[in-house]
Symmetry: C2
Subunit: 393 residues, 2 copies
């Protein structure tokens, strides 16, 4: 187990009806806020009216900025930064899924900075202070509600870039599983895929002596798969949404990776798909992940065997390690398919002639830099290309 | 799953050599602190000198208060309160195990209060503000390093009373598994028993739809048992101590009980043993827990079957639920014995003629009040008596 430092101070308010507390919780932080949301689903669901009523009752003034798209754009972030500066706003209330929260985080870090916000992302400049933020989560997936991370896209240069800094962790996040009932059905599948990937990025590691976090990861993965399948057939099942919502938070609150080398290759490899093709992150991950697994598994067969046995329920002779590992990956693909998730580029409409460019962008070769991806196996652009090729069959 | 609120802001600094950061971490909080510790083990191990050097280097002034005993006494707490008032101290650095940290918490809550500290414990008056505290943990067991709880004993009236309030959560806690190498061997067994009990108190619940926390509890329990047995035979095994130290923190950081009714009968039942006989908490728990399990298991056979199968590895026909549940309890007793823990009152030197008084004290009948213990099954004093009787065989 590696040494680690851990602190996650996000206050989670979880359960039925909890959105009614947003006014009170926000008022503790600020008298005037930026109310940030997406393209109107919260109006259709009635959540918007509830939030406004609660803010009004608590005497919280707000300025609205809506229009966040999936794969949130830096252009809207710039708008948000301007509004906060102009209106002297020091707190952002993000009502939506991971994209809205990520957009809010980017605004929060840009307001007091002299640098252009996209430069901060590209250059990874540290953020020591930011506006505070609170969230009401309407889509469990990214774990952004209690993470320090944000991912922003730029239409101009077709890039999607992740960033993280401790001041970006939300002060509070409200999770009411009832709010998930009105989601488009495919958001369940994308969300499950994304939160599973957050665990995979931590689980598949060369670090040894990780009994506790192994077990926590395995339990969370089994919980997500079981309950995602329940929801596939019974979308308004509160209890199953509660497990999914809770798991999405636990998957990315930091705990599951403590003391482990984390990988994060699949996320980086997926970001290139979303950047060029604007595919849903969760759909990109279900394509990329099995291909990554097959490409890297020989680096550390035991952890892939452990995954197969303890997470995917594979049985068989332990003398055939590779077979067991492959069967685990096959069962994962089977789960993705059962959820209606894609497992090939073809299903995403991604053309083979773009994959070399994507591999070079992912590793920054395309920008005259160079970075290897991942930790379990360090991946060059040629490795990434092979993984993309694996998605073409 | 129940609604829940959760926040745990303790900064955990985990791993080899981390005690060297105590000066820097303390300096961020205060220029002058109360340095609180036990009866000298930290001097013998050399930790005391390291702490002093680090505090001096960071320019932190300190006043010492040593002498905390297992089952920490309110008399020393009163002394600490006086010192902090007199010396105008606003931060406490607790270096030790759960007793030292619990004692520090009681001091922290008493300094600004007009009420006598023992009255606050007895009457459960809320604590809205307290001095802040940081810890260096030398004994993983109570989880006090990131919990809001404290338990204090009073020699005068032979009572041991628990208390909890959010301001008591430590600001930071340093956990270096190397520091556990110098512990007396029995502290491993008591610690393992205590942290397992923290999970049992959350795991055995009538709340349903708790997939995620079930799995997290089960994984943590298996991790503790596996690594405690490793340490029994190889006491200086860093990796096993890391798992135990990490698990003790996770067991009581609050996460594992989220959305579940928690029980806490065994802790209350055990406190009466420690109060009168001054037995180690973990030793009392290994006696009381199996007896409690056998007495209450019919209230919720499925969760005891789940425990037997998923934690204790019991196999058998699921048509014989009670048999499987009992076999799980028997295997738990087997584990306790393998660790050298007692499972009967006889081993603790507890006489049968005291048990009625203990049952009446635990339920507060003895003090002209009345409280039922537990949640899975609500226990009257007669129930508690039966559980004590079960410890006499």
């Amino acid at each position: 187990m590696n040494n680690f430092d851990y602190k996650n101070e996000t206050h989670i308010i979880f359960g039925r009806g909890t959105q009614s507390r947003v006014g009170e919780l926000t008022k503790e932080q600020a008298d005037k806020v930026l109310l940030h949301y997406g393209t109107g689903s919260i109006k259709r669901s009635g959540l918007y009216d509830e939030v406004i009523a609660s803010l009004n009752e608590a005497g919280v003034e707000f300025v609205e900025l809506s229009g966040v798209l999936p794969n949130p754009r830096v252009s809207l972030v710039r708008k948000g930064i301007e509004i906060c500066r102009r209106e002297n706003i020091r707190f952002i209330l993000a009502v939506g899924g991971g994209s809205v929260i990520d957009s809010a985080k980017a605004i929060a870090m840009g307001v007091d900075s002299e640098d252009d916000i996209w430069d901060i992302f590209l250059q990874g400049k540290p953020t020591l202070e930011a506006l505070k933020l609170g969230t009401i989560l309407t889509l469990p997936a990214t774990g952004s509600e209690s993470s320090v991370n944000t991912v922003i896209s730029n239409d101009e240069d077709e890039r999607k870039v992740g960033y993280g800094a401790p001041p970006l962790r939300p002060v509070f996040s409200i999770l009411n599983p009832e709010l998930f009932f009105t989601l488009p059905k495919e958001q369940l599948t994308y969300g499950a895929s994304d939160m599973m990937s957050h665990i995979f990025e931590r689980y598949f590691t060369n670090t040894v002596n990780t009994d506790l976090t192994d077990a926590l990861c395995e339990g969370a993965l089994r919980t997500i798969m079981k309950n995602a399948l329940i929801l596939r057939d019974d979308f308004n099942n509160y209890d199953a949404w509660a497990e999914i919502g809770f798991s999405g938070y636990v998957a990315h609150k930091g705990l599951l990776g403590l003391g482990r080398d984390e990988d994060w290759a699949c996320h980086a490899i997926e970001h290139e798909l979303s950047a060029i093709y604007d595919v849903p992150h969760g759909a990109g991950l279900s394509v990329v992940t099995p291909s990554w697994m097959k490409y890297v598994m020989k680096e550390n067969l035991p952890i892939f065997v452990q995954f197969a046995v303890k997470v995917m329920g594979v049985d068989g002779s332990f003398r055939e390690q590779e077979k067991i590992a492959l069967e685990g990956i096959r069962k994962l693909e089977e789960f993705y398919k059962a959820m209606g998730l894609p497992t090939t580029f073809k299903e995403l409409g991604i053309e083979e002639d773009k994959i070399e460019l994507m591999a070079k962008k992912a590793t920054r070769i395309a920008f005259g830099q160079e970075r290897q991806l991942g930790k379990l196996k360090k991946l060059s652009w040629q490795d990434v290309l092979k993984i993309y090729e694996g998605c073409c069959k």
